[in-house]
Every structure is written in structure tokens, then in C-alpha cells.
Symmetry: C2
């Protein structure tokens, strides 16, 4: 049986030279990790906890779970415009299963290495499967993409596409309203990939922050309508959202309009950025998207009047009865 | 029913001016918290995950659990000699129980306020009860109390007392070997307090680091023998430990010698500091302990020869068959 310390050593402690630009002075194996912050930068910190049967299915592929656990945290850094530095991993496991640990750690490190984000410490214990990552990044003072900076007249933008993750979940649950013929094997796989292996928009977030292009931003994890509501509340503004302008993922794009509207506007698990930017900056936003190969789409406008109005392509009001995800509702 | 956002607002978001010396630029309510690191300091980071039925009993007093969840993290900062800055809290809850949340948050904030350590962000979700805290502190470069600095000839020191937490656990489990008459109500309460409300030795750790008094340190969470083994391995040294010199807690001190030896040497849940220091610094170590009203006791010596030798008061070898706690053993 693998001991706690062998487990850490075998799967999580990597004996190799620090990456160029590493700020890690002391990594795994002491009471604390030690990081040397870049002078003049702010430290951005976020924690996300993923629970079995809540955020992922029991028996989920460990490689994909390793990827997703870090991806949702990188997405929070992206939404702040911060450059990734490192992360801690706290892991409760029902047992020390070598095959699971091997897959999980490979998925985790594949994404970590892509973003130069080092695992610096953490905790392992026995318990119901739970993955808690705390991530650290850096951003210049005054450049962070906060939720409270949206102003009336700003465009509302979305990165990438929405709703394919929700479609994949709906397919797993065999929900009504899905066009099964349109969701063939290839498109089912596309949608599943968005659910299980989201792409954090780190490069786009950094370009938006460094160029001072966006006024407010967040990442869409609980559905656009609910998450945009946080920007509106923090900025004390309202918005008009063109539901038919929302970019649907390639699998969802083939589905009936009612499903498309619901899943793009309030799907959940999208991990795309929603941000606001002044009208004068449209070309710069498009250029930032192009520079990091991330599509960006204008989907509405910030208004002085509080409240979120959903409209269709003709500007007519839509009541879809939507709201964001609430873990305790 | 309390929503996720109401829960955070009611129990965890505090509307009050930042404390003097706060490094928090942006707290709860955005994608990330933003901290402004003190120029020239290193950032110390640690995560601990507490799982029901593993680290605490089902039905544990939520006030004490709030205290302990933060205390074990502060203890990691103490072991590094770092000054607390702030922490994130990720919480999986079976449900949103107002009485539990009220007690937990009060216990958490009472200790946080004592140490000027701000809650800056986190996550809440539904799931089997799990408390994951990541804590941040600061320490001057070259002053951090690492595990790899012990040298042959160093004294081994212990803060406070050992074993009362383990005695309380033994009493709960009705383990053999306890002198029940000696463990009366008053001493039972003393022991229980050490188990449920440990005192992190933050002030002592900072004095040891700032004065460059200790060469190596860690906090004792899994039992002294196992934890001291980490210092020995990291420093590539050995040690002789005088088991009869180990300071027993007031409840354990009244127990039979066999129990006293076992529970001081390998109890667990002590959250005291174990550190090594040069012989020439004995007076300075005693003065540091006195300055922060934390007893410090010399209990052994670092040796060049690898291995940990346990001896009794006469220097005769003792084989107690002890080892540290392993969550996966």
C-alpha cells in the first residue's frame, strides 16, 4: 500500500530544475511553500473545490479531472487578467489508487506546464473524493479585470463559444429537447470535450488587462445570465443581452433554437470570459482575440438602468425564465 | 433556504474597514482576491484539508471546528516563521445550516482577528463536509524556518506541551491504558481543549525566524517522532531524543509513564513547534519563549549519524514501536 509521503513523492513532487521565470523559492516538502513575488505586482488568489457527484461524475476519467480541476482555477486568473505563478492542491481520496493518481497527476501537470504554473504544495488525506486547488497569479496594479468597472454604453463581449458543456450534461442525463440526430458521435464528443476539458482563456485575459482593453470581466462558470448579474450588481448598472447573438458551441449550434437560447444564456461550465469594453475599443478587442486565436463576440450593451433585459435578434424582449446556478438552491 | 451568495454574504463577507497593515487590495466577491505583497518579503503558502470523521468527529462543535481549521494552517505559518496575511476558505457542506454556519464563522473569525489574518476569498459548494483553507504569510528572505537546516550538535526544542490532544482522543475512544481516576472532569476538559482548540505558535515562530535563532523547524501534527523524521531526512542528519524530557500536557502528566511516553513521542494533533538551534543560542531561545509566554523545552540533540534514537532519562535506548501518522497506511 502506498503511504501518504510515497504518494506525494511519486505523483506530485517533480525532481527537475525550476522553469525559467519561476518565482518558487521552496516547493513541496516543507510546512509552507515560499514564493518570491515580482516587485510591483499584485498577487491574485483564487480557490475552487470540486466534489464528486456535484462537479464531476463518480468514476470520472482521472486525466480529464486533473485537467479540469486546474482549468477552472486558471479560468479565475484569466478573468482577473493575471499571469499564472503556481498552485496548491489539497486532495481527499477514498484510497491511494495508483492508476487514478497516475491519470490525475498527468492531466493536472499537462495543463500546468502549458501555463508555466507550478504545483508548490498542498495536502493529501483520506476522505470522500474532493479536489481543492488554490491558484496564484500576478497582475499590475490598476490593470486587474474586476467586476465593478462596467459603465453604461460598454459593449458586452464573450470569448469562445457557450453551451456545449451544458449540452453534454443534458445528453448524459437524457434531458428532453435534444435533437438526437443532430448530436451524432462526432458532435457528442466535441460537446463532451467542452464539459470535461474546458480551455481557460488565460492569454486573452492577460491581453485585455495589459492593454487596459476591458473595464470589467469574469469567467462564466454558473451560466452567463447569472454570472453577468454579478458584474451588473458590482458595477451598479444594467444590461441588454442579445440572446440570439450568443455564440453557440459547434454541437449546440445544430440544436433547436429553444435549447440553443437556454444553453448559451444559462448553461454553466463554460469557462469563457464575459467582459465589458468601451465602444471605442472594438478593434483593439478584436485584435487581442486574434492575437491569441480566441474568438470574441459582441453580445450586448451595458445600460444605466439596473436589471438584465434579454432580447432576440430583432430586439424584442425574451423571457426564458433563466437564472444562474446556486449550490444551495 | 439560504442561497450560496446569501450564505457568503451573511457569514463570511465582513463589511468593515481594512485592518491597519492589511495587504488586501480586493477581498471576497470577485474572481480572485488581490493582495499587495510587502516589498522584499517572501510569500509563505500552505493548504490544509479537514475531513469529517477523519480530522474531526461528525457533529463536532462548529465554533471549535472553525477555530481548529484555521489554527492548523496558522501553525504551518508559525513553523515557517512567517507573519500571517490572509487566507482562502473552500467549504463543502451537506446543507446550508444557519446555526452551524454561525458557529463555524464565529470560531474562524475569532482566531483570524487574533492574528490579523483576513479571509480574502474561497468557494462554497454542497458535498460531504470538508474544510480546506489555504493561508498566506510573509517572511524575510533567508529567515524562513525550513526543515533542511538542522546541523549535528544542534539542540532539539519543543514549544508548549505534548500529548494532551492524543489523550483526549484516547478518552473518546475509550482506549486501554488510561488512568481514569487521574483523568477527572477538569483534566478531561483541559485535554479536550488541546484536541479541539489548538494554539498555533505564531509569535514564537516569528521570534525564532526574525532573530535567526532556529536552524530548522516544523509543526508537530502527526506525532513528534514521525514529524522530527522529516527534519532529519531533509537535513540528512540523525537525532537522539530524550523521551522522558518531553513536556507532557497537564492531563497527560498525571497518567502512567507508558502512556505518557507514547503520547508525547507520537501523539498527533499537538500543533506545537519542534525546532533545532545551536547550543550557543540556548539563552536566546529561552528569552524568545519568555517574550511570547510560550514554554520551550530542550528534548534532544541532532547527530551526524542518520537515524532517530529514543532514550530514557538515563540515556538508555527505548524501543516504543512508534511511528508517525499516515493517512493511507
Amino acid at each position: 500500500m502506498l503511504s501518504e509521503f510515497d504518494l506525494i513523492k511519486r505523483y506530485f513532487k517533480r525532481d527537475r530544475p525550476a522553469a525559467p521565470g519561476s518565482r518558487t523559492v521552496l516547493g513541496i516538502g516543507d510546512d509552507c511553500a515560499l514564493l518570491a513575488p515580482t516587485p510591483g505586482k499584485l498577487l491574485a488568489v483564487s480557490s475552487d473545490m470540486l466534489v464528486e457527484d456535484r462537479h464531476f461524475f463518480a468514476g470520472a476519467d482521472p486525466f480529464l479531472l486533473g485537467h479540469k480541476s486546474l482549468a477552472v482555477n486558471l479560468s479565475d486568473l484569466a478573468a482577473m487578467g493575471a499571469a499564472p505563478l503556481g498552485f496548491t492542491l489539497a486532495l481527499a481520496l477514498p484510497g491511494a489508487d495508483p492508476a487514478w493518481l497516475d491519470g490525475f497527476s498527468r492531466g493536472l501537470f499537462a495543463l500546468a506546464d502549458e501555463h508555466g504554473c507550478e504545483l508548490v504544495g498542498g495536502d493529501t488525506t483520506r476522505g470522500p473524493l474532493n479536489v481543492c486547488i488554490t491558484i496564484f497569479g500576478e497582475v499590475a496594479p490598476g490593470r486587474a479585470l474586476r467586476r465593478d468597472g462596467a459603465r453604461p454604453g460598454d459593449d458586452i463581449w464573450i470569448s469562445g463559444t457557450l453551451g456545449d458543456a451544458r449540452l453534454a450534461l443534458a445528453a448524459c442525463r437524457d434531458e428532453a429537447g435534444i435533437d438526437r440526430a443532430a448530436l451524432d458521435a462526432a458532435h457528442g464528443a466535441l460537446a463532451a470535450r467542452r464539459l470535461h476539458a474546458p480551455t481557460p482563456r488565460v492569454a486573452l485575459g492577460r491581453l485585455l488587462a495589459e492593454g487596459a482593453l476591458a473595464r470589467a470581466a469574469l469567467d462564466i462558470s454558473d451560466g452567463l445570465v447569472g454570472d453577468l448579474g454579478h458584474i451588473l450588481a458590482a458595477s451598479r448598472v444594467g444590461a441588454v443581452l442579445d440572446v440570439d447573438a450568443l455564440p453557440a458551441g459547434p454541437a449546440l449550434a445544430r440544436q433547436p433554437r429553444a435549447l440553443r437560447r437556454r444553453f448559451t444564456a444559462a448553461g454553466g461550465d463554460d469557462y469563457e470570459l464575459c467582459f465589458t469594453a468601451p465602444v471605442a475599443g472594438r478593434d483593439a478587442v478584436l485584435a487581442a482575440g486574434a492575437a491569441c486565436a480566441t474568438p470574441v463576440t459582441r453580445v450586448g450593451r451595458i445600460a444605466a438602468q439596473p436589471g438584465l433585459a434579454l432580447v432576440d435578434a430583432d430586439g424584442a424582449p425574451l423571457d426564458l425564465g433563466l437564472r444562474g446556478w446556486d449550490h444551495f438552491a
